[in-house]
Amino acid sequence: MNGLAELAHTLAPGLLYPTGGAILFAMGLYGLIRRHHLVLRILALNIMGSGVFMVLLGVAARGEGPPDPVAQALTLTGIVVAVSATAFALALVVHLTRLTGHAVMLPGPPDDDAPVEDISREEHHADGGPAAPHPDQDRNP
């Protein structure tokens, strides 16, 4: 354990941060795919975002002298974007939970795989007989 701490100490921030950032990015991606609860998925995306910002800070710290201000400015801008996107995503999830009672996504649009083979049959049978195609049946909610 002592050796590990020493290793971390000797690692320059220019190497430690990008490596840590890459690990966070991968962990977030794993969580995004494996979890189904939407709040956890949003958290996973935030972890991915932190990974990106850590790499960016590592870029800023690299080289001699003071850290690169451009990279720090980019990080700040990125955090602002991430916060807004998270707030928006959470608002959507709250709304979805109110509508369905669960914070998980619905499985695709309804009716998408509805059978279609009856189009021509229905129409051809309709021309003579009294089986006129239900004018108001498709009005149901």
């Binding site: 790499v55 960016l56 996504m105 695709g108 509805a114 009005r139």
Partner: protein, 494 residues
């Protein structure tokens, strides 16, 4: 005294960004009047883009040497943000203006409710402003910001109706979009770490086939493919595009997806150009063939009109991937790809608008029960058919010219000795047949005998705008020469 057009160009470019942003801000500040502000703003931005394109073409061969670049606030490239206008961005700006104006006029008829109008117009104007900035931005980080502006407003528009299906589709769309953006941003960060600049032109000058570029290329390409719904990262598209209101679907399928594709094309023609190998091209081409087959198969078995149109977007974007290996053999082919994307966007937007009119009249879009409404609305069906014919690529339409040029490029690769070129040619020709099959499925119920059913009343805007846009899509073939000429004014591209 009249000055040369070149001197006006930088002002006109910065003015376009300023104008479209100002319209969005004003509409957000006065939501009560948002529809009026939106209509006049849409006309003003449309006129501005037309004026800008006239200036751009009139500036002529000067633009060929160096694209017009504007340093915002007088700060030059390494530190400041550059706006960048060349033939490629000009073409897509004009496309955006046409589709966006049609969508705005359509929305006048589609969205009546006072509350809904207040919510719709500001979001829609932000989306349009974001697209304009996306096409004009010349800085990698700024491109990330514009991507986020576009996707956040697009997600809000998908959730617009507020039903469970729409909100669920919006959440899916948002998660996918943030994932794509983060992946893109990670690539930008890697490029910045390697080269210390964010400007695309400076990056292009410094780029080589190193490991960092490879990693950045993988991350950025995957992120943008996710956003552009390119196969196999397309599964989110149909739920999101199918459940959105009609004008929103038209803009998503016509413009937003094209915007991500534009960025992909720009990166691979510039920064990542040293990384493109023939094997990579073939891999992308095979993905395109798979997209063509899978998207068409889904379109052939979907039961809802809007699902058919949404899946056909997946199939049609397969063409853009198939064109990738052609570009490696014949560098000139990229202009054909862009022309194809332009024609597709026009046709797809009008198909979605027409489908929206039919859905509004019938109260649903289940194909099996649409026959009566289709028979009662010949004008809308004609718009659907006309745009569909352009999607299929029958002669004299824009789609025909685009596919003809693609086939010509494909045959060129065969003549150049590439065996796999045969597959591309078969895919391009066969994709047209599949498109014909699903387009005919959409309009076929109109030709069965049976009673007519007018359904709910439809405003004149919703009746005429799809037809107008479909006519533009069909006539786009006649603008082919002009478009291809404009595209030659892109420096750095072959």
């Amino acid at each position: 005294m009249i000055e040369a057009p070149e001197t006006w160009l930088p002002t006109a470019i910065a003015g376009l960004v300023g104008l479209s942003l100002a319209v969005a801000v004003v509409a957000t500040a006065w939501p009560r009047q948002a529809h009026r502000i939106g209509l006049f703003g849409a006309l003003a931005v449309f006129a501005w883009v037309l004026g800008l394109s006239a200036l751009f073409v009139a500036a002529g061969p000067e633009a060929e040497a160096a694209a017009t670049r504007v340093a915002l606030g007088g700060w030059e490239a390494p530190l400041g943000l550059m706006l960048h206008l060349d033939g490629l961005s000009m073409t897509l700006l004009v496309l955006t203006a046409i589709v966006a104006l049609a969508t705005s006029l359509y929305s006048l008829g589609y969205i009546h409710d006072r509350i809904e109008r207040r919510q719709f117009w500001p979001l829609w104007l932000w989306l349009w402003a974001g697209l304009n900035m996306l096409f004009l931005s010349g800085d990698a980080f700024n491109l990330y910001i514009t991507l986020e502006v576009v996707s956040l407003s697009a997600v809000a528009l998908v959730a617009f109706t507020g039903t469970a299906a729409a909100v669920s589709g919006a959440v899916r769309y948002l998660l996918i979009n943030i994932l794509g953006s983060l992946s893109f941003l990670m690539g930008v960060v890697l490029l910045f770490g390697e080269h210390g600049v964010l400007d695309l032109v400076l990056l292009e000058a410094r780029s080589e086939a190193g490991p960092t570029e490879r990693m950045a290329a993988v991350l950025m390409t995957a992120g943008l493919m996710l956003k552009a719904a390119l196969f196999p990262l397309h599964v989110w598209l149909a739920p999101a595009h199918g459940s959105a209101p009609a004008p929103v679907s038209a803009v998503l399928s016509g413009l937003v997806v094209t915007g991500s594709f534009y960025l992909l094309l720009r990166l691979w023609m510039g920064v990542f150009a040293p990384l493109a190998t023939p094997a990579f091209g073939i891999l992308i081409g095979l993905l395109g063939v798979a997209a063509l087959i899978w998207g068409s198969a889904q379109a052939l078995r979907a039961g809802r009109l809007k699902s058919i149109v949404a899946y056909s977007t997946v199939a049609q974007f397969g063409y853009l991937l198939v064109a990738f290996p052609l570009m490696l053999v014949d560098p000139d082919a990229w202009r054909v790809v862009v022309f194809f994307a332009v024609v597709h966007a026009l046709a797809k937007a009008s198909v979605f608008l027409a489908a929206g009119t039919l859905q509004h009249a019938a109260g649903h879009d289940r194909l099996a029960e649409l026959g009566g409404v289709l028979r009662a609305r010949p004008r809308t069906v004609f718009a659907l058919g006309l745009a569909g014919v352009s999607l299929m690529g029958l002669p004299f339409t824009g789609g025909f010219i685009a596919k003809y040029l693609l086939l010509e490029a494909g045959l060129g690769t065969i003549l150049a000795g590439s065996v796999i070129g045969v597959l591309w040619v078969v895919a391009i020709a066969g994709g047209g047949l599949l498109a014909a099959a699903y387009v005919l499925r959409m309009v076929a119920p109109a030709f069965h005998r049976g009673p007519e059913r007018a359904g709910e009343a439809v405003s004149p805007w919703m009746d005429w705008v799809p037809l107008g846009l479909a006519t533009v899509a069909a006539l786009a073939g006649f603008a082919g020469t002009l478009t291809l000429h404009t595209l030659t004014l892109t420096p750095g591209a072959p």
